[in-house]
Amino acid sequence: MDVLYFAWVRERIGLPREKVETEAATVAALVEELRAREDRYAAAFEDLSALRVAVDQELTDFDAPLAGVREVAFFPPMTGG
């Protein structure tokens, strides 16, 4: 699965995207796995209320299932316009 990071999430983790092999059933479970990897992930995912998630390029919630998903993206609240 492709995992993408944007804005300060990308800066904290230090890369814009990576391939992740996971059996996580939900976004929240994936976040737990990532947090456990290294401090920079723990720092990026410290406060989930400050984060948003998109699954296959659709905004969703952290309890969204990951079965069949190709792409998950994490980022702060958007500031377009």
């Binding site: 993408l4 944007f6 804005a7 300060w8 990308r10 998109a54 390029q57 659709e58 905004l59 993206a73 980022f75 702060p76 609240p77 958007m78 500031t79 377009g80 316009g81």
Partner: protein, 147 residues
Amino acid sequence: MRVVVQEAPFDFGAEAAGFAAGRHDMGAVVTFTGIVRDLQGGGLEAMEIEHYPGMTEKALEKIAKEAVERWALGDVLVIHRHGRMEPGEQIMMVATAAPHRKDAFEAAEFLMDYLKSRAPFWKKEFSAESRAWVAARDEDEDALRRW
């Protein structure tokens, strides 16, 4: 309906003049333009806008389609830039055409409210002293609730 995501500047005057041109059934056109605003007291060197290629286009098209379904519109245009911009540069525009002004105004405000908080763009401000991601404003999230 036209949705454009690009790094290059766009020609606001030409886009505005060309939008809905030649239509005889639209009485009202509303445009909104977002411009890079300097910091209070000045000093902003540049704004950089990051986006999520692929999702950005989908999100903007979804928002535009929803506007067309909810209001009596003849046409909708959304242009949004990404990359580096200086103070005074145009970041984005929306335009709406409708038989009546109420629909044109409401749809333009709806598009802006959704685009602010639901399209995957992130702004970073660069000055001599600092570089900082622009924080989302609670009032922008609140603005969505009226629709």
